[in-house]
């Protein structure tokens, strides 16, 4: 028999309304981990599941001959996938931590161990992902996100991932909180690897996807900043054009406009170009502030290599 791995392993599992998946999932997971590791723990994050998923989990563990160390974290009120998994990862004590967003398994079981192997081979974050993203909305979001995040690891729909302790520490020291974990992992500067499987993505457990998507775009990409700055500058230029137009009408050989038109136009257009200029400056400052507050470390190092 192969000697078991000495690394301590934690598996953090989100408990949504997935009663029907509990048995197959836990059977597969405990078998995989039991075979490979001397010690491991399971951490369930119960986020207001209503269909008795938690009871199902308890019943399954109670029926096990030698159940592993297990913790259930009960969230006070529904907090959604992101915060719930953050809590689970915070309480995990493992050297390596699995994050399961869902207990549905559209992926083949051997990927659990393959992901761990990939982690040992030097990728601090290994994510298992379907070949195709979840749907139209996801596709659009990831395209937008990836086009403006500047990260070398494009985001995509994922099923589960393995993190090294180093990756967890890094994410914590970079941003303290991770409002969108996937993006935080991709942006933490350590090596990330995707393992692909043929097949569909699992149904999403996440509520509030749209607002989370907007928050993430604002925080991890320069997209929102670029758009708003673009609009401000565009409006400013439009107003300057109007100033020129007013002057041309006033000085030019055209029919004189009604009295007062020129003054009014100059005040309005001049004033507004000033407002948009200030807006552009404010936007720049705001983006700097976000950057400073949100990114505590100012540079990220993947590794240091001494060559001679």
């Amino acid at each position: 028999m192969k000697e078991k791995d000495k690394n301590y392993l934690s598996a953090v599992i989100y408990l949504g309304n997935e009663k029907d998946s509990v048995k197959t999932f836990l059977e597969m997971l405990t078998q995989c981990l039991e075979e490979r590791f001397e010690h491991y723990e399971l951490i369930f994050v119960e986020d207001a599941s209503q269909d008795g998923t938690e009871e199902e989990v308890r019943a399954y563990l109670a029926a096990m001959e030698a159940p592993p160390a297990t913790t259930i974290v009960h969230m006070s009120l529904r907090q959604s996938l992101e915060l719930a998994l953050n809590a689970g990862v915070d309480i995990a004590i493992g050297d390596f931590v699995y994050e399961f967003d869902s207990m549905q398994m559209p992926w083949p079981p051997q990927l659990v161990m393959e992901a761990y192997e990939a982690c040992l081979e030097g990728s601090d974050i290994v994510a298992v992902a379907p070949k195709r993203n979840r749907g139209v909305f996801s596709n659009l979001f990831y395209t937008l996100f990836n086009s403006s995040s500047g990260s070398k690891y494009p985001l995509r729909t994922e099923a589960f991932r393995v993190l090294s302790r180093r990756a967890i520490n890094r994410v914590r020291s970079v941003s303290g909180r991770a409002p969108y974990r996937k993006a935080a992992y991709a942006a933490c500067g350590l090596r990330l690897r995707h393992l692909e499987y043929q097949g569909e993505a699992a149904g999403s457990n996440e509520a509030l996807r749209f607002s989370r998507a907007l928050d993430s775009l604002a925080m991890y990409t320069s997209l929102a900043f670029k758009i708003s700055l673009g609009i401000a500058l565009f409006m400013m230029i439009l107003m300057l054009v109007a100033v020129v137009y007013t002057l041309v009408v006033f000085l030019g050989p055209f029919v004189n406009p009604s009295p007062g038109w020129t003054t009014t136009m100059l005040v309005v257009t001049g004033g507004f170009s000033g407002v948009f200029l200030i807006l552009a400056v404010v936007l720049k400052y705001l983006s700097l502030l976000v950057e400073l507050v949100f990114k505590k470390q100012n540079y990220l190092v993947e590794s240091v290599e001494k060559i001679t």
Partner: protein
């Protein structure tokens, strides 16, 4: 032979009561199930002399502990390990308290607390505050020696070991206690200082049990590297851990809120699945010693080790030396505020029956008022 008092249990509370009464010229008999004193919870625990830091959610418990702290340290200074720094820290996540609240609490309780750089002990981001405090550890072996020496000088005090209480009956103004050795003793005052067996002894007379939850706990002993040698570290207040000198033994104890308790029983009398594997020696009416039980659980060292290393910086190394197991009754009323009052309950008057239940060593002085 008539006694003034019979005391059940030769832990610190039992022996302290015996000494107190013996010094007042009373005739006292101590009955102990084990072959020697201090073989269970008095020895098998963190050995912490509580100053109150542990109870940031219960000012009353904190104050009571700190009041008795000085007195205990004065009286038993040779049995107390004082030459180490005790650091308390508040975890950044999952803690019921934080650095600011902890500081405020120490001030209110009037106990010293000096802020330390968190990064000196902990990995980045793990704790939001670290404080140098004043707290000591007692050495159970030395304490036992001192108590036994003191008791040897008191002719009125008699200790009998390997003698279990099997029945108690009221007999006029006395209690008649029958023991496993077929003896029968009488006294008008019975002190039940049997800690984990407190409800079992009370049950012999049909008294209402203390509302407790029983936990089978593991204390891990470690050998530590130089950086930890003169240092104790406790991470508060929730599912964390503590590593601190184990008296003057040179070893450190390692305990954690999550992994120290192995099994729990919520019945009035302790019912555990492992009792079936003891061949009847241990049952809901008689608890055997968990520490030398063949059915004791597997050590939780891998988890505790992992948990402590998750928090502590690399240089604070420690290695496993061994585990000790004991049964602890935890008052169920205390889960929310985490208070640990010492309960001294007079359950019957004339003849008098008093039960004491406390989770702390230095509040032993609470006993005096009922013994007078």
């Amino acid at each position: 032979m008539p006694y003034d008092k019979i005391i059940i249990g030769a832990g610190l509370y039992g022996l302290y009561a015996a000494r107190f009464c013996g010094r007042n010229g009373q005739r006292v008999l101590v009955l102990e199930k084990e072959a020697a004193p201090f073989l269970r919870a008095t020895t098998i625990n963190q050995a912490r002399l509580h100053m109150g830091y542990h109870y940031p959610r219960s000012l009353s418990t904190a104050k009571r502990s700190s009041d008795y702290f000085e007195r205990f340290v004065d009286e038993f200074k040779d049995c107390v390990c004082m030459d180490f720094e005790q650091v308390y820290a508040t975890s950044s996540t999952f803690s019921w308290t934080d650095a600011g609240a902890f500081c405020q609490f120490c001030e209110a309780a009037g106990i010293p607390c000096e802020e330390m750089p968190v990064g000196r002990y902990f990995r980045p981001g793990m704790c939001d505050g670290a404080f140098l405090t004043r707290e000591y550890a007692y050495d159970a072996a030395l304490l036992r020696r001192k108590m036994m020496e003191d008791l040897a000088a008191l002719p009125g005090v008699q200790l009998r070991f390997e003698e279990e209480v099997t029945g108690i009956e009221e007999d006029g103004g006395d209690y008649r206690v029958s023991t496993s050795k077929g003896q029968c003793e009488k006294a008008p005052f019975l002190l039940n200082a049997s800690y984990a067996s407190v409800n079992q002894v009370g049950d012999l007379l049909g008294f209402a049990p203390f509302s407790v939850k029983y936990e089978l706990c593991e204390l891990i002993l470690c050998e530590v590297g130089l950086p930890l040698r003169k240092l104790g570290i406790t991470v508060m207040d929730g599912p964390f851990f503590s590593i601190m000198p184990f008296g003057k033994t040179g070893l450190h104890s390692l305990t954690s809120v999550t992994f120290t308790p192995h099994l729990a029983s919520h019945e009035p009398l302790p019912v555990f699945p492992c009792q079936e594997r003891t061949g009847g020696v241990c049952n809901p009416h008689q608890l055997a010693n968990c520490n030398d039980c063949p059915a004791k659980p597997e050590s939780a060292w891998p988890m505790m080790d992992q948990l402590a290393r998750k928090y502590l910086r690399e240089e604070f190394g420690f290695q496993y030396r061994g585990s000790m197991f004991s049964m602890k009754p935890i008052l169920t009323a205390s889960e929310v505020d985490d208070s640990r009052p010492t309960l001294v309950r007079t359950l019957h008057d004339r003849p008098r029956f008093v039960s004491v239940l406390s989770g702390k060593i230095n509040t032993v002085y609470d006993l005096e008022e009922v013994l007078l």
